[in-house]
Amino acid sequence: MLSVRDLGVAFGMVQPLSGVSFSVGKGETLGIVGESGSGKSLTAMSVMGLLPLSGGRITGGTVEFDGQDLTKLPERAYRKLRGGRIGLITQNPMTSLDPLKKIGPQVDDVAKLHLGLDAAAARARTEEILGTLRIPEPALICDRYPHQMSGGMKQRIVIAMALTADPDVLIADEPTTALDVTVQAQIIRLLDDLVKDRDLALVLITHDMSVVAQTCDKVVVMYAGRAVEHGPVEAIFDHPRHPYTQALIGCIPRGLVEAKRLTGIEGTVPTVVNYPDGCPFHPRCPRAQAVCATEPPAFSVAGDSAAACHFAEVAHAEPA
């Protein structure tokens, strides 16, 4: 359904994103994981064609959706896709809705724009979609303002907006990060059900490996604006071959009785202007050798998955 190949993004002279590839089909969930600053949200904005908003541009690669290359799509045609066939769920539901407008009209917009409905029919569609998202009393909710609702409820509204026009692809950029843990689980389950019920292609962007394990079919692990490992979720979790993936998995808390201390990853993601030469992860990598600092690693393929590490084979031999 959606296939991104070798995507590169630049802001002026800096190149925060390069060589990102993934694809996702109907009824499939793809997870994009990585720490903050690894380029996950930029990837989402590139697919939505919204980079110009923040002054960025796509410098290379293709974003193929339903047989057409979106990077070459004129803005007018792109607008029909946005909210119509590709839905976006943003990070922070507290600030994602216009605080001056009632909920109803904000959701109605989508049906009016993409389904060509009049005001009454659009409202009916809005209430219907709110109902399917298990939002109680849709008619009442439509008459509310965003500040009168909880974060979880607002995120459901945002999801409702993304779903109103019955899209093929849904891009969820950290949809649960700003929510309470209990609400997080609800939203994740909701998204999971939607993928199954509506045969959606879901791109789930998150920094939480446990969310990936619960919901995704495929994973792309990103670090410093590059994909470092990708493959089916079982393969990645059972045999992570990139040291960064291994470290991320090591950060998942397991059970209440834990003999080992929870591990973290030393250091932080480099900022765009400080991307190191060679393998971007080498300064923080426990397995780094001299070659890592000079040669960018190529993907080493094993079955369905691939890892960009000089020592992927070695790493595979001794999983973390």
Partner: protein
């Protein structure tokens, strides 16, 4: 809801008006000088003086004087001007229309042109235009009105002869004063509009509006403008008070009648009743402006409506 809110705001104006009336009443007594001195002819006796003081009630205690004054105000009796020897109400009625016309036009000019310029400079991302705008805004906020008035008179009246140098006859006489007062307002409104629009553009929800497939134009007019208007309306409401009082020096330079010139003249002559009436009008205008601003804010922003009512 909005009606209840308006009523609450109106109630709050009662204590505010009371305090203002006390301040206005007292402030004239803090001024040095005495209007009676202006009325007495050279060589008048102490008896003449005492008689005048008694006639205007100036011999009674401040406390009594205040209540007599405020009581008269409530009955719409502003009394007689001591020096000008005419009813204060007449003086105000005669001058008020000039101030209202000038201030109202300047207000319209600065709000429409200011908002248009601010919007253009926020959405047209062009370095040259942006620098021009910022230069203009800086000039507009810093150049004093009386100086600008003199420059305009020199150029348009003396050199080009397009508009009269002073006076209040015909629309031509209004052009330069309106430009003078409006200039600062245009700059102020343009600056606030520009910043508010740029801020609104950076809000998270704008991304989602684009993601819904809305066009940039729709987003600007239906979503960004209402947000930008919130601070702009506050600024404009505060300037409503200026409609009456902001023109003081400009009225003076252009030799126009008006509340400002009346106030200046009355101050010079220590004409207490006139000063008090003028100040009261100005204070009322400011209070009215604030009220309008608050109510407009509440009408536009549901969050404010809820918090305060």
């Amino acid at each position: 809801m909005i009606l209840r809110y308006t009523f609450q705001r109106l109630l709050m104006l009662i204590p505010v008006s009371f305090s203002i009336s006390v301040v206005i009443f007292m402030i004239v007594y803090l001024l040095p000088g005495d209007p009676i001195d202006n009325l007495l002819r050279v060589g008048s006796s102490a008896e003449d003086r005492a008689e005048l003081v008694a006639r205007y009630g100036l011999d009674r205690s401040l406390f009594v004087q205040y209540f007599v004054w405020i009581g008269n105000m409530f009955r719409g009796e502003f009394g007689d001007a001591i020096v000008l020897r005419r009813p204060v109400a007449d003086l105000v009625a005669q001058n008020l229309p000039y101030s209202l016309t000038l201030g109202g036009l300047a207000f319209l000019f600065s709000s429409t042109v200011g908002m248009a310029l601010g919007t253009i400079s926020a959405i047209v991302r062009q370095p040259v235009l942006d620098r021009l705008m910022r230069g203009f805004i800086l000039l507009g906020s810093t150049v004093p009105g009386f100086w600008l008035a003199l420059l305009l008179i020199l150029f348009f009246s003396v050199n080009l002869g397009w508009f009269p140098v002073s006076g209040a006859g015909g629309w031509q006489a209004l052009v330069l004063p309106v430009l003078t007062i409006g200039f600062g307002g245009v700059a102020l409104v343009a600056r606030v509009t520009r910043v508010a629009l740029l801020d609104a553009q950076r809000e998270d929800f704008v991304t989602l509006l684009h993601a819904k497939g809305l066009s940039s134009g729709t987003i600007l007019f239906r979503h960004l403008m209402p947000h930008a208007l919130l601070p702009v309306v506050t600024i404009l409401a505060l300037r409503i008070g200026w409609i009456l009082g902001g023109a003081v020096t400009v009225e003076f330079v252009f030799g126009r009648p008006g509340l400002g010139s009346l106030l200046i003249r009355a101050l010079g002559q220590r004409d207490y009743p006139v000063v008090q009436a003028c100040l009261l009008m100005l204070a009322l205008a400011v209070m009215l402006g604030t009220l309008i601003g608050d109510v407009a804010q509440a009408a536009m922003d549901p969050r404010i409506r809820e918090k305060k009512s």
